[in-house]
């Protein structure tokens, strides 16, 4: 009497959990206000850092302000999904150490899905708006044509670019299955995302390789943006980035699930 649970089932469950979650969040107005203020402040602070840097240095590695703003906006968009849908990674450590994690193993659904579905972070939507605004501004200033092709490319590439940060955070969070005191790994990895907004061409070849293939922050904004910023000279890696994104995401998921299997649940 086994029941089949396909993509449709998971989407519908996620939607239902999300609606309930939003409803309950609405009832905590103070919480909502603080989250919103927080979101605005965070983005503003990032923006200020950026502008202050350009106040002193008009170009970085040949990239002018508008190109940098494009990268900045693109990175914010690509970082929205990890913020909105995968925020529960931050709680993984606590659940694992306290032994509470076991409760996610008793449902007839994928553990990774069930765990992530528990939290939807509304603040990420503010980031989405902020990133979209910046990107559209830079897009217009640089004079990138608006066609079906470019808009379509933008959609595909932001979606696949988002997979890289999700993968990084999955791996960072899953380290808690093996090592104690792994909280700082997540904090550091999350800070890396701030560097996704700079061109990877600033690195020497060794570190460029590291930030491309090991901690793939160069894929979050730099490589996909080249489609729009250097349309005449798009590297192969850019075209491959959607595929690489899927591979990274899958590997991080496998690592996360390996952690679940390996973890011996002695916490209780």
């Amino acid at each position: 009497m086994s029941k089949k649970r396909g993509l449709k089932f998971y989407l519908s469950i996620y939607r239902k959990i999300l609606i309930q979650d939003l409803k309950s969040k609405m009832s905590y107005r103070a919480d909502f206000v603080i989250s919103t203020i927080g979101m605005i402040m965070t983005n503003l602070a990032g923006f200020i850092t950026f502008i202050v840097l350009f106040h002193n240095f008009p170009t970085i590695n040949g990239w002018d302000l508008n190109h940098m703003l494009f990268l900045y906006g693109f990175s914010l968009l690509a970082l929205t999904p990890v913020q909105c849908f995968f925020d529960n990674n931050w709680n993984l450590r606590t659940h694992v150490y306290s032994g509470d994690f076991i409760k996610y193993c008793f449902r007839p659904v994928n553990i990774f899905f069930y765990f992530m579905s528990e939290v939807f972070d509304v603040k990420g939507l503010g980031q989405l708006a902020f990133g979209l605004g910046t990107l559209i501004y830079a897009w217009a200033k640089i004079g990138i044509p608006v066609t079906f092709l470019t808009v379509g490319q933008a959609l595909v590439f932001t979606f696949t670019a988002s997979l890289f940060m999700i993968a990084i955070m999955n791996v960072a969070a899953a380290t808690c299955f093996w090592i104690q005191g792994s909280g700082y790994v997540m904090v550091i990895m999350f800070r890396f995302k701030d560097f996704a907004r700079y061109p990877a061409s600033i690195f020497n070849s060794v570190f460029k390789a590291i930030f491309t293939f090991i901690i793939p922050i160069a894929f979050v904004a730099y490589y996909p943006s080249l489609v729009f910023l250097q349309p005449d000279n798009v590297p192969v890696l850019t075209w491959l980035s959607p595929l690489i994104g899927l591979v990274f995401f899958f590997l991080s998921y496998a690592f996360w699930m390996l952690g679940v299997r390996k973890y011996d649940f002695t916490g209780s």
């Binding site: 905590y28 603080i34 965070t42 002193n56 931050w90 700082y184 560097f195």
Partner: protein
């Protein structure tokens, strides 16, 4: 310092961290990579600017400032906000509410203990490495003693901000939200992500009236003999600023905590 002493120190540090937890080793490694990122970014920035000195800071100055700021950040890092929110959600806060002052001082001393070991384990080795690599760019003398005093004050200011923000947890459950706001604001306005010298004059003036620069900027200025800290009057001004914020934040924190607790207990939350 002889090389043997240096090795012994490193040996002890490595042993400690390996023994205590693999996590520390991973942290060290992650920090190193982070510093590499910072290095390349600023190298590119200075290479594009065409001059060696920007706003009175050379590339070496900027790197020393940022690396030590990161090292300071690591050792001053506190999780008071998280602890508090966890204790609220588990209900353990009820016990703490009965004795608010005890909670405050207990938390402070608990962190102070770990700060001392973190200072020796994380900051001192970083400092020594930076000192050796930059060959004399960091002045060695009385400034080290003054720096220590400044760091202690910075720790108190940091704790004051932490407690103030942690009290907000009594009102909201968006712990991550308020924590990230605190962290971003502190990082930007304290000079930990960009040296305050790079900010435009007008903004810099406003920032200098905020408590955040007392955490990273002032200790680092003192360490590098900058910002007037080499004169007695200048030093007095910087320390006075830190001390002032210690008092203001502590008083504000205690009052805010008391008001909040009363409000919460009345509402029966």
């Amino acid at each position: 310092m002889t090389i043997r002493k240096y090795i012994a120190l490193v040996r002890a540090g490595i042993m400690e961290s390996l023994h205590f937890r693999l996590g520390t080793a991973v942290t060290l490694f992650a920090n190193l990579i982070y510093l590499v990122l910072v290095y390349f970014l600023w190298k590119a920035v200075y290479a594009s600017s065409g001059t060696d000195v920007v706003n009175g800071m050379t590339f070496t100055d900027t790197m020393i400032y940022l690396i030590l700021a990161t090292a300071l950040f690591n050792f001053l890092e506190m999780f008071v906000v998280w602890d508090m929110s966890r204790s609220i959600q588990s209900g353990a806060i009820i016990l703490d509410l009965l004795k608010p002052m005890k909670y405050r001082s207990y938390t402070f001393w608990k962190y102070s203990g770990s700060h001392v070991s973190q200072f020796i384990l994380a900051f001192v080795p970083t400092f020594i490495v930076v000192m050796i690599v930059t060959k004399g760019a960091i002045p060695i003398g009385l400034n080290l003693v003054k720096f220590m005093v400044s760091v202690v004050l910075a720790q108190i200011v940091n704790f004051g901000i932490e407690m103030l923000v942690a009290t907000l947890c009594l009102y909201t459950e968006s712990t991550w939200g308020i924590n990230i706001v605190k962290e971003t604001i502190v990082l930007v306005l304290s000079g930990a992500s960009i040296p305050l010298a790079f900010f435009p004059e007008s903004i810099r003036n406003i920032i200098s009236w905020m408590p955040f620069r007392a955490i990273y900027d002032i200790p680092l200025q003192v360490l590098l003999n900058k910002g007037g800290s080499d004169t007695l009057a200048g030093l007095a001004k910087l320390w006075g600023m830190q001390l002032g914020w210690c008092v203001i934040l502590t008083v504000a924190g205690v009052i805010f905590w008391k008001i909040s607790v009363r409000k919460i207990t009345v509402n029966g939350g």
